[in-house]
Structure formats: C-alpha cells, structure tokens
Subunit: 454 residues, 2 copies
C-alpha cells in the first residue's frame, strides 16, 4: 500500500533558476500589439507609464530562458516547489486505467498560482524605484496575491475591487488588508473613470473593465505608481512557467511523462504555466503531448470567439491585441468561476490554438462542480470553481481511457483551492446553480463592434 508515492516533492533548491519563454520556440511569432490610434506596433515608450522597463523587456523578449532574480526565487521558497500529486483515489473512483496527476498551486499563501507573477512584478517595480502599485481585482485572487507580494518588498498597493465581489467576498478584502494593502470598491469616487460611471449609474455593481480603467488611470496620473496585471500579458504567462518546469522534473521522479495536459483558461496564465514548458519540449523535438484548454461554456472565447484584434478592456483604454475574443463589449453572465469571466484570451494562448498546439473545449459550470465534488471526496482538496474546469477536463479524458481500455498519463493544473468560494458549493448542493446564459446574438453584436484592423 505504501510502495508508490502519493505526491512527488522537490527540494527548494530545485525551484527553477530561470523562467521559460515559449516565444523562443514558436514556429512563427505572435502578431504584434498595436497602438489603437496609429494601428502601428507599440514600442517600449508607449508602455513606460504603466510598467517598469524590465517587464516591458520581458514582454517582447524571444530569449528562451530569463533568469529568476535571487530575491524572487527566495520569496518562492515560502511555498515552492509545489507538490505534484498522483490522484490514485480519483483513479479508483473512476475505475480508469489512466494515470492522473495534478500539480497543486493552492499551497501558496493566497491559495492559487497568482503569487508566481505577483512576487516577480513587485520585485521589478521595487528595483525600478516604484513606491506604489495600482491594480484591479475581480473575485480577489489577484488583488490578495499582489498585496502579499508587495508586503515582501515594502511597496504600497491600491486595489480596485469590482463592487459586486467587494460586497460578496469580504474575506478577500480582509486578506489584502492583513498584508497591508488598501482595497476599495470599484467604481469609486477616487478616479475620473469611477466618478463618470457613478454619475450615470450611482448603484453600479462594477465590472472588471471599469476597475481596470480606474487602476490604469491611478497609475498613469501618479509619478510614484505603476500598474500591475495578473494575467493575459506575455511576461505574466512567462512567470507562471515555474509550474510546468517543476512538473517536468517531477515527472522524471515519477518515471512517467504526460500524454495529455489539461488546464482551465480565463486570461490564460495558469494554463500557460503548466502547458508551455511541455509544448516547448515538443517544439524542440521532444515528446508529443496533447494540450487541452478548458473554458466555461458561458464565456467561450477560444471555442466560439473570433481570432481578431480587440481591446483588452471594456473601456477600450488598452492597446489592441490579436486574440480569440467575444468582443470587448460582451459581458458574460454571472457564473461562479469569476476568474474565467474574461471576454478575450492571452494572445500567446490564442496563437497556440491557431498553430494547433492547443485544443480548446468548453463545459458548463454544473458539470464542472459535479467533477469538483467527486474530486474533493476522493482527493481531499476542494478546488476553486475555476479549477473545477480543469478537473472536469481531466475526468473526461480519464473516462475516455476507460472506454478505450488504454492507460494514458493525464496531467492537470489544480490552480487553487476553493476555501474563499464555498458559497458556490452551497449553491450547487441546493440546486441553485444556474445553467449559464450564453447568448449568441449578444456575442454577434459585440463582435460587430470590433475595431477594423486588416
């Protein structure tokens, strides 16, 4: 019974020495980011008001490896390397010949993968002499992670939190305050963007788009402040590569290699973190691997969106990026996986889908919670609603192995625990979880408004 391990652990000296940059190995580069006015590729100067130069450099770098600075690696040691689990009890529950593995990022101080980039961003901003960061947060995972990272490096943080989550999830705000950050509801009275919304809709519950607008305005109008984003951008995805790099080393310990990798996609950062290092191996002539991106049926940018230039935010303040999008004017319905409610997708993930390196699929939240409860009872960890999408994807592949009588190795990223989202489980058990609304015509309208770029 004790012969085969449940989890594969690495010593903290095995924390990767460098991040992996997929851009070095892609057969073609992703389309450039465009200035919305000139429709010309943006340069470093366009981004300088918002980000420190080190991060702008990483955004466009094609170096394969970028060294992780010693203070960032040192901070990672608080929770990294994270464990790779073999889901033996889940395999038993499914009666499948599949070998299921999951990388568990919920052991981080804030309970998800977000600190992997938060710590790096705080470090580079501190190095550049920045005193203060502004950011937005939806459900609060990102805001609390940046608050934690800023505490390590002595930076101030201001978080604009979408009003509806601010009211519904007071524990996330408490977490940010415990780490010393300031968190206010968005729309707020503290920015022009916020005041403009409140003037028209005094009872606005906010949106990620509005909150981004407030945080960007805050950073752009204050000399001591930069802006920080928790997903989508190339440098953010690259910081998450520590997940997959550790997994590669852990599969060596397990004497195995994944046939299939599954991750959930919202902005794309946890998915890229686990998948890109394996895709890189494949592109450099290593073993083949099927990579499955699971998105919510109510916000299916990869499976039902258009690959086109669009704005990253609802207020259309950002540069134009080419990505799978449902249109920046599209507002997804209020399902429980708040971290996956984004109209677009990380440009690098979209590019990989176009190159047939990634296979997208979508599931409804009820199927995902069903898989999550099955997983909890077998494996003990209660996943975040976002992570339940990855669990569902892995269960589908494991059952396919059973049907076909084939043993494949399936790796998925359990990107966070659900301790701050238990209301979703209560709703699920009470039968109050809605079948999400996805309206083809709303998306068609939003897509009709896309900027005209050749």
């Amino acid at each position: 019974m004790m012969t085969e391990p449940t989890k594969y652990l690495l010593d903290e000296n095995a924390i990767p020495a460098a991040w992996y940059n997929l851009q070095a190995d892609l057969p073609s580069p992703p389309p450039p980011v465009l200035h919305p006015g000139t429709l010309q590729p943006v340069g470093p100067d366009d981004l300088a008001p918002l980000f420190p130069m080190a991060l702008i450099g990483q955004e466009v770098s094609t170096e394969r490896e970028i060294e992780i600075p010693a203070p960032v690696r040192d901070a990672y040691r608080a929770w990294r390397p994270t464990p790779l689990y073999r889901a033996r009890r889940l395999e038993q529950a499914l009666d499948t010949p599949a070998r299921i593995y999951y990388k568990y990022e919920g052991v981080s101080p804030t309970g998800s993968h977000k600190p992997n980039t938060a710590v790096a961003q705080a470090f580079y901003n501190k190095e550049a002499g920045v005193a203060r960061l502004a950011t937005e947060t939806g459900a609060g995972q990102w805001g609390s992670s940046l608050a934690y990272a800023a505490a390590l490096f002595g930076l101030e943080v201001k978080v604009y939190m979408v009003r509806v989550s601010f009211d519904q999830k007071p524990y996330r705000k408490a977490m940010m305050e415990t780490y010393g950050a300031t968190c206010i509801a968005s729309p707020s009275e503290e920015t022009n963007a916020g005041r403009a919304v409140l003037a028209e809709h005094p009872d606005s519950t906010g949106s990620l788009g509005i909150a981004i607008g407030e945080a960007v305005e805050d950073a752009a109008t204050r000399e001591d402040t930069k802006y920080s984003l928790g997903s989508v951008l190339n440098h953010v995805l690259m910081h998450q590569s520590v997940i997959g790099r550790e997994a590669l080393a852990q599969f060596e310990l397990a004497n195995d290699y994944p046939d299939i990798i599954v991750g959930c996609t919202g902005g794309g950062s946890n998915f890229s973190g686990i998948a890109f290092p394996f895709i890189g191996e494949k592109l450099r002539g290593g073993r083949d691997v099927r990579v499955v991106a699971v998105e919510p049926a109510a916000c299916p940018s990869l499976t039902r969106g258009r690959y086109a230039y669009d704005f990253g935010d609802t207020a259309n303040l950002t540069p134009l990026v080419k990505m799978h999008t449902l249109g920046s004017a599209f507002v997804p319905s209020g399902f429980h996986a708040g971290g996956l409610r984004y109209h677009g997708m990380a440009p690098l993930v979209s590019h990989c889908v176009e190159l047939d390196l990634v296979e997208p699929t979508a599931y409804t939240q009820i199927e995902c919670f069903e898989a999550g409860v099955l997983f909890s009872r077998a494996e003990s960890i209660i996943p975040a609603p976002e992570a339940n999408h990855a669990v569902k994807g892995a269960v589908v592949e494991a059952l396919r192995c059973k049907e076909e009588g084939v043993s494949r190795a399936i790796l998925f990223n359990l990107c966070g625990h659900g301790h701050f989202d238990m209301q979703a489980y209560t709703d699920y058990f009470a039968g109050n979880l809605a079948v999400e609304h996805y309206d083809e015509s709303e998306v068609a309208m939003a897509l009709a408004g896309l900027p005209a770029v050749a």
Copy 2:
C-alpha cells in the same frame, strides 16, 4: 541568499510508523477517570456505547508506541509530512538572535491539525463495523475534518454545529457538505437534548455543551452510530503526536534542537501533538526543553483555573476527569479564537503542568492578532485566531532572546490558517476587537459548583 533552507521537508515514507504515547514515560500516571454516579474509575464497558474498543484501548494504554494502521498512514500522505519552516523573515523583522521555527499544519485538506485524529477515528470506527458517526463542532474545524475523514472510509457523519457559528460561518457547513456530511444547527429539533433547550429558549444560539449533548444522545440511541471527539481525550492527543515526531526528524535535518516549544491550548490537542514527543525525549534522559502553553486571557483554565475533578461538558453528561478547569458551568466570552473556548483542559496536559513539565501563560486576543499580522506580513501565511496565541508566545520568547543577547531555538506549532476566519482580522483592523471579558466572580461561582470528589 539560497544557502540556508526556508523549510525542511520530509519524504512521505518518513511519516511516523507509530504514534507516541506520553503515558509510557510519565513519572506518575494521571488520576483515573471517574464514573459520576459511583465515583469509581470507569471501565471499557462504560465507554463502549460511544467509542469502538480500539480507541478505548488507546485511551488507557501505557505502551510507548502504537502502530499507525496502513490505511491511516496512507490517508496521511495526502498532506503529511507537513513542512517545518525556519521563520527567517520574522527573525529579521524582530531583529532577534533567536532561531524561530514553526511546524505548519495548515496544509491539511481542512486547514488545521484536526484531520490527524479524524482520519484515525474514522478508520477504527469503520473497522468496528460502525456505519455512522455523530459529533459536535463549534467554529467548524473539527466538523469539517471528521467529514473529510469519513468520506475516505465511506462513513456517514452527522455534525451538530453551534447555532451562532452555523449562522456566521456558512463556508464551514458548505465544506462539510462537499465531503458528504450532514450538518445541522444545534440546538436542533432532532434530539431530546435539543428539543428541551428549544422549548425553554426558542432563540437559543447554542453552545458547545448543548451540541455535545445532542451528539452523545444521537450516538447512544442509535445502534449504527458512535460518537467522535476532536480534542481533550488521551487517544486524540496521541494521534496528534505525528506533529512532534516529524518535527524531531526535521530538526535533525536542520542540525538544531528546540530550546523552547510553544503551542496554543484550548482542549490541548495541537499543543500535545507538538510538545509530547519532545517531553518524552527529555523524560527518557534526552535534551531538556522549556514547553510553554499559551491560552487566551478570557478562558485561562491553566493559569487561573483549579486542578480538580469536573465534567467535560456543560450538560454534565460525561465522566469526571481531573483537569485544570474554570468550572463546567463557566461560559467564556465570545472572543474570536473559538477553538480555545473550553472551560477545561486535556487531563494529560493538566497533569504535565502539575509535574512542572509545561509552563502555562495567557495573552489577550488583541496582543495575539498584533503578533499574527506581524507574522503574516513577514512569513506570508495568515494564521487562524487560535494559532495567533502560539505566534504571540513565540514572539515574546524571541524578544527575550534579543534583550538577553542570547540565540535560542524556538519551535511553535502553526496549527492552522485563518482563511475561514478573516472576519476576525477585519474586526481587528477596524478596532472592533473587544478586550475580552474575564470575570473572576463568574469563575468563582462556576468553581463552587464543582462535584465533591476527594
């Protein structure tokens, strides 16, 4: 910067093979448990309606080691061995020459040390053919841990949760349901004990004493059901010894040994878990160690209670145990560390205090939250309100090292994270945390009601 480790990890093959039983090494045995009617020592038959024989045997055993059954060790592998951290950033923040270490039990599926005994209790009940367990829970840590353990072994669980917490902490109930348990508010309409209370006080917010009464009645009146308790009893404390046994091995890795061990005490189980294996070493001629038990100033059984025979519950349904008690009729004020709101203390911990093996001390909740926030910002983990008492105790010792210019090794047990208790932090930051009420005369009255036992 990377030379000295932040955490000491053990392979899962290093999960202890046996629990450690302090009773084997004590210079004198603890006073016997008495039947409240006859005042004679209770025998196994008296306890048989509530517990399976294997646990009753462990309760009175004086064997030094009791082998951990393979399925229990196998279940432990989901999160054990837990990490031992060296708190380098906290040492820096305190500018102390002390070497501070903490054992982190918050990595368990429910976020505290409670599953260490929950898994064992579920296993032995399953082995004895029990189909269903009844238990009580206050804030929910214990109820969710037993729910988790029962899911592993296919047992039904009914949890009677104190009404006030049931209403205030819906996330804990959701967690129990996710693991498949049933959780109802106590007092309930489902037991005589509950109905009797509701008849007199329809709006009763409940108490741990009432909930224990309901769970005991449930177990005693159903053939298929036994009762399960999360602290206080000898076998529960023994199951927690995996904490200290792992720490002993981890200190060998660290090439160090604690001069001082600090734990928080409510019922006594997490404290015993870290301390007893080290006390055992000392009693068998090994290294000396100071052991500090930190209790809340609002419920100071060890520092201000009487060492006397008393009931374990408010309803006086249990046998009589000799312990430090504030009187079973004493109701502590509603401070935030719900896990420490118990009128008595584990008899084995009380006995150790009488033998001068343990040094008790008490702090107010505001001092403890202050220490917890300092800890969070330095070490990244937000402690549970209970664990903040241990943090405070460790900080006091570390500052004493600084004053005296001496480097000592301090080990404390970080028995759980605070993710389900963030309201307490909000109250702390808002200045709404009350200075707890402790009324000497209420305790005097409760103590006057103690049963008359020679």
